[in-house]
Every structure is written in structure tokens, then in C-alpha cells.
């Protein structure tokens, strides 16, 4: 409570950067799935949870080193996402509210299935000793692992940007996002684009999960903690990559500053009220593409 001097402000800003990177990493898969495919994926939190569990599985049963678990989780969760898209989501593309409900059902099923297989007791991910140390620069104190998360987030954002704006597949994705029918008439297989984008978004959630499993303990319910926050980032950002990067950064920093002045929970409440008021002025979010009525 109380005053905020320069030192603690800088500390809060650095911590805010770390919070922002976590929220952005949780939100980026969701942004892609919403922005391109138009699906509100309520099972996103469970994709994150699956990422953490697949890392746990690979680490404790196959002895995979942690750094290799991250890309492996991407592959595993992307494959699960692919199956869910082909088996369920693709039938619901023209019913946005129903995709929301169906993915809720998916989230319940995934959570319970994991609970039946692994039990409800917490699991832990082991990391190299270097990652669990702390870094001290002047008065700023930050754990090395949080810096790893920031680096991975930056890498994921850069990679996604490259994929979407510098490759042939990315051009197809953007064409389908702008106008599905027109793109299809130019010979782009829209159904395939949707399928791969959904799998990509799920895979990115898997990456997030393998990192969040270290930040927190691994539990079947761990996804729910991230999903609401991730949605707020997507809604505030307007569903574009750039929007999510800015929204994630802004909300993370604000959360950290508010928390430094009051406390964590109250900061979250305040941040949420701000987002509601913001949406009142700009319902389309920070950087929304010009809306097309379909």
C-alpha cells in the first residue's frame, strides 16, 4: 500500500514485462485461432494444461531434457488440436456461439480424462539448475526462468509473424481471413488452412503449457487460471497478432503497477473494470481489422 518511489516503479515495470510475456504466450494461440478461424476456443486453457502434462510425461518416462520438451509439447498438442478440429470444430464453423459451447464440452472432457489418467495430485517439471537461479541487476531481482519465458514469447511472436507475413502459407491464411469464398475461388483450400491454423494455435498453447508447468505446479485444473486472462488480451487486442502483443504488454504492465500500489487481487479487479470501460469506447479492440459482415 501507499507510495511508489522510482526504484519500486522500475521493479514493477520489469515484473510487468514478465507478466505480459506470460499472458501473451497464453493468448497467442487463442489469437490465431480466433483471428483466422473465428472460433472462440474455450478449451484453450486445457490445451495449455495438456502441454504441461505432455512435458511431464516425456520428461519423467522418456527422460527427455526440458528444452526438448518444449517443441515436443508443441507437436503433441498440435496433433490433439488437429484431431479435435477434424472431428468436431469443422462442423460448427457457421455457428460461433455453438463453437464456444462445444469447446467448453471439450475442455470438460480433456480435464476429466487427464484427471482419470494422471490423478488429481500435483506434478512437477524439473528444469536445469541454471533456470531456477535468480538474476540480480542493481536493485532489480528476477528469476532466470522468467527471462526464459520472455525469450520464448519473443521467439514465438517473431516466428508467428514470419509464418503469417513472409511465407506462402501465411499469405493463404491472410487471404482466407479476409474473404473465405474469394480465397477458395482462387484455389486455396480453406478447410485445410483452418485445420492447420487450429493445430498451430493448439500447439502454441502446448508450448505455453510446458513453460507454465514450471512457473506453477501441474494440475488438471491449471488451464482455467490462464484462459480468462488470455481472452481478455484477445478481446482487448481485437483478435490480431499486433493487437494481442500490445494488449498483452499494456495489461501486464498495468497489472504490475496496480499490484505494486494495492495488491494482486484488487489489481486484477481494477484492470478488468478498465477493460470493460475501454471496450465501451472501442468495442472492436485496439487493432481490429475492418469488419466484414458475413
Amino acid at each position: 500500500m501507499g507510495s511508489l518511489d522510482l526504484n519500486s516503479l522500475i521493479n514493477a515495470l520489469v515484473l510487468g514485462l514478465s507478466i505480459a510475456s506470460i499472458w501473451l504466450l497464453a493468448a497467442i494461440g487463442l489469437t490465431i485461432i480466433y483471428g483466422v478461424v473465428g472460433v472462440i476456443n474455450m478449451a484453450h486453457g486445457e490445451f495449455i494444461m495438456l502441454g504441461a502434462y505432455s512435458s511431464y510425461l516425456l520428461q519423467s518416462y522418456f527422460g527427455l531434457p526440458f528444452l526438448l520438451c518444449i517443441p515436443a509439447s508443441f507437436v503433441v498438442v498440435a496433433a490433439i488440436g488437429l484431431v479435435i478440429e477434424r472431428g468436431l470444430i469443422r462442423y460448427l464453423y457457421n455457428r460461433p456461439l455453438d463453437t464456444l459451447l462445444a469447446t467448453w464440452g471439450v475442455s470438460i472432457v480433456l480435464m476429466q480424462a487427464v484427471r482419470l489418467i494422471f490423478g488429481s495430485d500435483p506434478k512437477y517439471l524439473a528444469v536445469p539448475a541454471l533456470f531456477s537461479s535468480n538474476l540480480q541487476i542493481g536493485f532489480i531481482n528476477l528469476s532466470v526462468f522468467r527471462i526464459v519465458v520472455m525469450a520464448v514469447t519473443a521467439l514465438v511472436v517473431a516466428g508467428t509473424w514470419f509464418l503469417f507475413y513472409r511465407t506462402r502459407f501465411g499469405m493463404q491464411v491472410r487471404a482466407v481471413t479476409q474473404n473465405k469464398e474469394m480465397a477458395a475461388s482462387f484455389g486455396i483450400n480453406a478447410s485445410r488452412v483452418y485445420m492447420l491454423t487450429f493445430a498451430l494455435g493448439a500447439g502454441l498453447a502446448g508450448v505455453a503449457g510446458s513453460l507454465f508447468g514450471v512457473l506453477n505446479i501441474v494440475l488438471p485444473t491449471m488451464g482455467t487460471a490462464y484462459v480468462v486472462q488470455a481472452f481478455l488480451v484477445v478481446v482487448t487486442g481485437g483478435g490480431t497478432l499486433l493487437g494481442s502483443v500490445f494488449a498483452g504488454g499494456l495489461t501486464g504492465e498495468l497489472q504490475s503497477i496496480f499490484a505494486a500500489v494495492t495488491n494482486d487481487t484488487f489489481a486484477r479487479f481494477l484492470l478488468f473494470l478498465l477493460i470493460v470501460v475501454f471496450l465501451w469506447f472501442r468495442p472492436q479492440g485496439l487493432f481490429a481489422p475492418r469488419s466484414v459482415r458475413r
Binding site: V109, F269, W280
Partner: protein, 367 residues
């Protein structure tokens, strides 16, 4: 004509349903069971409120726990203050444990039972009016509104959990004695309380059913169909959306009050996200376009949960989730839609095909 869309047949079905639930205490002598059946009335009220908001208004509300929880807290505070004495013992025990020396101003109005219950109903409804107005005027709709209501719910959940000295945090409030109205205590295990809940359920269901058949109800359904067209016809869409949303919030608030009367307990669990989503699942499986279907959905699912689920909760939830996916994928109108199809197949066998458009018009006017 499809019997399902026949208004007389619909009212007959509602009548049978009311008669059955009202007669329950005549056959159930186990007071514990009666109390549990009373809580099903609360689930029925919640399913009714979701059906009204989502089924008829097209507003998917994943945060119905807001009204339910706020009202439950209001009622619990009222009941708690009934057991306190202004002179000798003015502060509830948990506040003393949290080293509060004075009753917070937030709690002062709850000395009066009448004012307390009024607040328990008015505050959530007003909250819905303000929140709904903010959202709908900004034309936040569909999935986005669902997310915002969900986020609002989790924000409230954390703040109630955090305000330990005022709300007793995760432990919740457990009023030591049942609610006393006009000098008589309302035994939560007695038939009188059951009939109170049952009576409220019947009255609100009849009101909601009449509302859906009125001009207002027709307009709300038109907004569900295509909000843009209704706006171009000159109606204030946001006002209609706010009205149906606030109305459903009021019903959920009544449910919250009944809940605390029955179980004498409230905790942040009532504002848990998963409970609010469960309400949507009741209506989704039962049939959101039918008030009665949604309520029966709540009874079936909650009944299944308490009788099958206790032993194998994870398997039950797994099955429920899978079943919900199947309903969303193949039966968007839920089990009530299945009945509609069945009755439709029966009547189309006897009737010439030309009557179909009339059927569809009826379907839009009624359920």
C-alpha cells in the same frame, strides 16, 4: 399442426409439471430428502433464468453466478444479522477473528430483515442493468458478451475471496439460525420452505412463459434472430437486451436467496465459474428454447450427479462433457428439440404438407 407448438398443450404440460412438484411434500416424509429436493427448485429457477436470457434473448451468459452469488451473500448477511444483537453482540464472530472492531458500513443495512432481502434482490438486478447497459450499448454481443460476463464473474469471485474481513473469504458465511420472517422461523427442512421455493418457481415460470408470448417476448426473440434488422426497424435493441438480461438476473437473485434459506450457507463457490457453466449445460441439454425443457434438464443432470456421481465423479463429468458435445453438435435445441421433432413426425404423417409454413410461423411465435 405439431402438438409441441400448441399453446394449450404447452400450458397443460406446465400444469402437470407444477402439480407434480407441488405435491412432492405429500409423499416425501424424509426431511433431509425434502430439503435436497428444495435445492432442485433453486436449480430450476437458475435454468429458467438461463433459458430466458440465452434461449429467448440469444444472450449467452456465462456469468449467471454474479446475480446468484450476490443475492446469496445478501441473504446470508440478513440471516447472520438476525442472530446478532445491537447492544450486547453487534459483530458477527468471523469479523472478530479478522480483528474488525466495528460493524462495516456495508453490513449496516442488513440489521433490517426487510431491507436486507430487498437489497439482496435489488443490488444484483441493478448490477445487471448497469453492466448490461454498458455492454449492449457498445454492441458487445454474442461470444464477446459471454466472455465478458465470464470475466466479470471471475473478477467478483476474486474480490469476494480477497475481502476476508467482510465476507469471511473462502470459508463463507454460515448463519447459525434459519431465516425468521414475521416472528416465525422458516425451517429449511420443513414442507413450508419447500412450498415457498416451489411457489416462487411456479410464479416466475408462469410470468416468464407469459412474457415470451407477449409483444416484448416476440421482440426479444427477433433480436435473437437478427439484431441488425430489428435496429433498422427503429427499436432500441440495447434496451431490450438489457431488459431480458436484467430480468434473468432477477430470477437468479431469487434463486440465490432461496439457496441460502435452504442450505444456510454461502461461500465464493456459488460464484465459481464452473457452476455458472453448469447452468448453461442444463439449459443446453434440456433445450434452451423451452423453459420447461431447461428446468427438466437441470433436474436430470443434478439428479444424476447426486445419485450416480458421488461414487464416480470424474467419470460422470467425463460423460456429461461428452454428452454436451454431442448435444451441441447434433441437437442444438436439446432434448426438448428431440420431442419437437418426434411430435412433428407424428403430426406430419396425418397432415398435408402445405401447412408447414404455418408451423414455422407458430414455432417463432411460441416456443
Amino acid at each position: 399442426m405439431n402438438l409441441y407448438h400448441n399453446k394449450l398443450a404447452q400450458w397443460a404440460a406446465y400444469g402437470v409439471f407444477f402439480a407434480i412438484i407441488a405435491a412432492v411434500p405429500l409423499f416425501v416424509s424424509d426431511s433431509f430428502l425434502l430439503n435436497q429436493l428444495g435445492t432442485y427448485g433453486v436449480y430450476g429457477l437458475l435454468a429458467l433464468s438461463i433459458s430466458l436470457c440465452w434461449g429467448f434473448g440469444g444472450i449467452l451468459n456465462l456469468g449467471q453466478g454474479i446475480a446468484f452469488g450476490l443475492a446469496a451473500y445478501g441473504m446470508a448477511m440478513t440471516m447472520q444479522m438476525q442472530t446478532q444483537d445491537p447492544e450486547s453482540n453487534p459483530i458477527p464472530p468471523f469479523m472478530l477473528n479478522n480483528s474488525l472492531e466495528q460493524l462495516p458500513a456495508l453490513w449496516e443495512p442488513f440489521w433490517s430483515t426487510g431491507l436486507g432481502i430487498t437489497l439482496a434482490l435489488v443490488v444484483p438486478t441493478l448490477f445487471y442493468v448497469i453492466f448490461g447497459n454498458l455492454m449492449f450499448r457498445a454492441r458487445v454481443s454474442g461470444p464477446f458478451f459471454a466472455i465478458m460476463s465470464l470475466a466479470m464473474l471471475s473478477a467478483l469471485f476474486t474480490i469476494i475471496l480477497d475481502m476476508q474481513p467482510y465476507t469471511n473469504g473462502a470459508n463463507g458465511i454460515t448463519p447459525p439460525q434459519p431465516l425468521t420472517i414475521l416472528g416465525t422461523p422458516l425451517d429449511p427442512y420443513g414442507p413450508a420452505t419447500y412450498w415457498l421455493v416451489c411457489g416462487l418457481l411456479i410464479a416466475l415460470t408462469v410470468g416468464a412463459k407469459l412474457l415470451t408470448q407477449s409483444k416484448f417476448g416476440l421482440l426479444v426473440q427477433a433480436v435473437r434472430g437478427d439484431a441488425e434488422r430489428v435496429r433498422f426497424l427503429g427499436y432500441n435493441v440495447a434496451a431490450y437486451e438489457t431488459a431480458i438480461y436484467a430480468l434473468s438476473g432477477f430470477i437468479a437473485a431469487v434463486a440465490g436467496c432461496c439457496w441460502v434459506i435452504l442450505v444456510q450457507y454461502v461461500s465464493p463457490a456459488q460464484l465459481d465459474v464452473s457452476f455458472s457453466v453448469t447452468m448453461v449445460i442444463w439449459a443446453g441439454i434440456g433445450g434452451r428454447l423451452s423453459l420447461l425443457g431447461s428446468m427438466l434438464g437441470a433436474f436430470i443432470i443434478q439428479g444424476g450427479q447426486s445419485y450416480l456421481g458421488d461414487a464416480l465423479l470424474s467419470t460422470w463429468l467425463l460423460g456429461l462433457g461428452a454428452f454436451f458435445i454431442i448435444v451441441v453438435r447434433f441437437l442444438p435445441k436439446g432434448l426438448a428439440g428431440l420431442l419437437e421433432m418426434g411430435l412433428g413426425a407424428l403430426s406430419s404423417g396425418r397432415r398435408p404438407k402445405q401447412l408447414e409454413p404455418a408451423d414455422r410461423a407458430n414455432a417463432m411465435a411460441g416456443e
